[in-house]
């Protein structure tokens, strides 16, 4: 958690999209930006990149207000995937409330996925986060490509871990919101345990997730009253 101010009724959360280089982390955020209702979120901020490769991070902020008046700001970040940017990954990973690991489904990328995942394990430990505790979802991206690792293989390998594993094609736009929803659910449970969002702030999981993942066609039913930029 980036910050929690009880007096100002303000909570700032951080979710991080992790994964090997070119696995589609930024594309995931771009798709969320395109697909989700504009109300309740800010614009995607893409920091200077070189040849479309993230060298710092991308940021997509979300906002919601609990019935108690608690303002929750959720910042979703991507890390740079290239091995050389490890220090930046550590800086971005600090105080994360949840991680989506974006794996590349292509058979040729299998070893990169494992390398990046062990890098995540290592860096989580370095920044003082427990991989057993932190909300973590796995997305196998690029399902639209040929020569990809079969879904049953993925399920067999990752199933026993108990982590949600999702198939996606960020390029085609499917599986992206589901990944974000799963991560939001886990993050809610994690935060609720300590801050009792439902008990103290009247914010249940369904509302929390719904507010974050609303599509434009659903927007009419749930108007967000607060000062959110449109």
């Amino acid at each position: 958690m980036i910050e929690y101010d009880e007096l100002e009724k303000r909570m700032v959360l951080k979710l991080v999209y992790y994964g090997p280089a070119l696995s589609g982390k930024t594309t995931n955020l771009l798709r969320l930006h395109d697909l989700l209702e504009r109300k309740g979120r800010g614009d995607l901020m893409v920091l200077d990149t070189k040849d479309d490769r993230t060298i710092f991070f991308d940021l997509l902020p979300f906002f919601l207000v609990a019935p108690s008046g608690l303002k929750i700001k959720l910042k979703v970040y991507t890390v740079p995937g290239q091995v050389r940017h490890d220090s930046t990954r550590k800086a971005v990973l600090q105080r994360a409330d949840g991680v989506a690991f974006i794996a590349d489904s292509q058979l040729s990328e299998a070893s990169n996925n494992f390398e990046s995942f062990s890098n995540l394990e290592k860096n989580l430990a370095i920044v003082g986060l427990d991989i057993e505790e932190i909300p973590l979802v796995i997305q196998f991206n690029k399902r639209d490509l040929p020569d990809i690792i079969p879904e049953e293989d993925i399920k067999r390998v990752w199933g026993p871990s108990g982590m949600p594993v999702l198939m996606a094609s960020a390029l085609e736009g499917w599986g992206v919101i589901e990944t974000f929803r799963n991560l939001a659910e886990l993050a809610y449970q994690h935060i609720d345990k300590r801050y009792e969002l439902k008990e103290n702030h009247g914010l249940d999981k369904e509302t929390f997730v719904l507010k974050l993942t609303r599509r434009p066609d659903e927007a009419g039913n749930n108007t967000v009253k607060n000062s959110i930029r449109t």
Binding site: L47, F56, F63, K75, A91, S227
Partner: protein, 433 residues
């Protein structure tokens, strides 16, 4: 300023840390815009934070009927303050347009500045971290590099030292084998000599007794000749015969001869015994010995080598027993004494002193020979180093001495002045590990 720096060092930057509007935009950036609005016709232009606290103000509220346009200021998509532009009610539409222009400009500045700050902060954090990591890596590399350089530098020296050690050890072994062979030979010879020597001494003793009996008998005959009943002619012929055979001289010399023979046999016996003792063939490899005795024994063996006129001055002090292989130790003394003898043929003075000090036995051999030139002094303990003519010296004598003494945890040193002789000092620790 100082305080600010201190904070920057102590607080770790967290990507995502919340920022206030005034952290991102400066007076210098925002005031010209507000001033521009007033210049363009607005009465006042104000930027306030979310708590309605004015951050930047320009101009003053108009009197009478006025219009205020209020627009939210967004940061990372979140409303963090507002822009208020006030002016005459009749300029309403104009003021709206002006405010729109203003807020877009402010947003653009905020967005650009925020991006720059995030980039810079991340960059600085990463650079600092990388720099620290590099320093650490560099430190470790320097340590390992210096270790390898040291190894490389010392390698040649180490190889030389080891080679030298091996040469010494090999030479020492050769010397020991030679000693063992000599010892066995000496013991064999001694044994062979001892037997005949035994019956020679014994026979001479018996012979001496027989002779004295014969002498008694002769004396009896001589006394009997004085009897008046003996005819004068017999007495006279006996006298003549006695004189002709020089029995006066013989009877006085015979005892001397026997005495000298016995003394000679005794000396042979002693030499044989010393030879045996020197080779220590009768003893095991280790024995507790008295060093004073061993030095004397060595001198005895060397008797025939020591030139006439040589003066040996001994200054022995009582010493504790020393456990060692006596043959090896005698060899050390032998080699040092031989060197002294060869250093000066005439009027050699050899001082030998022993003493006991600080649980160490100190033995000193000083001569008044030529001395050892400084340039070779460091080499005399080297194997095969010799100043003698080819075939005369092996170059092993002092090497063996050095090996033996250091082998017992002792030291051997040489002091010398050219033409003033040399002093070898040996120290041996009595309690060895």
């Amino acid at each position: 300023m100082e305080k600010k720096q201190k904070r920057a060092e102590n607080i770790e930057y967290i990507v995502g840390a919340e920022k206030k509007i005034q952290d991102i935009i400066t007076d210098a950036e925002v005031m010209p815009i507000l001033k521009g609005a007033v210049k363009a016709g607005a009465s006042s232009a104000i930027i306030a934070d979310a708590q309605n606290k004015n951050l930047w103000t320009c101009g003053s509220h108009p009197e009478g009927s006025f219009f205020t346009e209020t627009l939210p200021v967004y940061l990372e998509g979140e409303a963090v303050g507002k822009l208020e532009v006030a002016g005459d009610s009749k300029d309403r539409e104009y003021l709206r347009g002006l405010s729109g222009l203003l807020i877009d400009t402010i947003h653009m500045i905020l967005h650009t500045n925020l991006k720059r700050m995030l980039t810079t902060e991340t960059h600085t954090t990463v650079v600092n971290k990388s720099y620290e990591e590099l320093l650490e890596i560099n430190r470790k590399l320097s340590i390992s590099e210096s270790r390898y350089r040291e190894l490389a530098e010392n390698l040649e020296k180490k190889v030389q030292e080891r080679t030298e050690e091996l040469r010494r050890a090999h030479a020492g072994m050769l010397q020991q084998e030679k000693m063992a062979a000599i010892g066995q030979l000496a013991a064999g010879v001694a044994h062979e000599i001892n037997n005949p020597l035994g019956f020679i001494s014994s026979n001479i003793n018996t012979f001496s007794k027989y002779v004295s009996r014969l002498k008694d008998m002769v004396a009896f005959y001589n006394a009997s000749l004085g009897d008046s009943r003996v005819p004068e002619s017999v007495r006279k012929s006996s006298r003549q015969k006695w004189d002709a055979l020089k029995l006066d001289f013989i009877s006085s010399d015979i005892e001397e001869l026997i005495k000298q023979s016995l003394e000679g046999a005794e000396r042979v016996k002693k030499i044989v015994s010393d030879l045996k003792g020197f080779s220590h063939i009768d003893e095991g490899t280790e024995a507790v010995i008295d060093i004073n005795t061993e030095i004397d024994r060595t001198l005895n063996v060397l008797t025939h080598e020591i030139p006439e006129g040589t003066e040996i001055i001994k200054d022995y002090h009582p010493l504790p027993g020393f456990k060692c292989n006596p043959a090896l130790l005698c060899q050390v003394f032998l080699n040092i004494i031989l060197n002294a003898i060869q250093a000066k043929k005439l009027t050699l003075k050899l001082f030998i002193s022993t003493g006991y000090n600080n649980s160490r036995i100190v033995i000193r051999f000083s001569d008044n020979g030529r001395g050892i030139p400084e340039e070779i002094r460091s080499r005399i303990f080297e194997p095969f180093y010799t100043t003698k003519d080819v075939g005369k010296g092996t170059g092993m004598g002092l090497t063996a001495a050095y090996e033996t003494i250091t082998g017992y945890g002792g030291t051997i040193e040489v002091e010398s002045r050219t033409e003033e002789g040399a002093t070898f000092t040996i120290t041996l620790p009595v309690k060895r590990e």
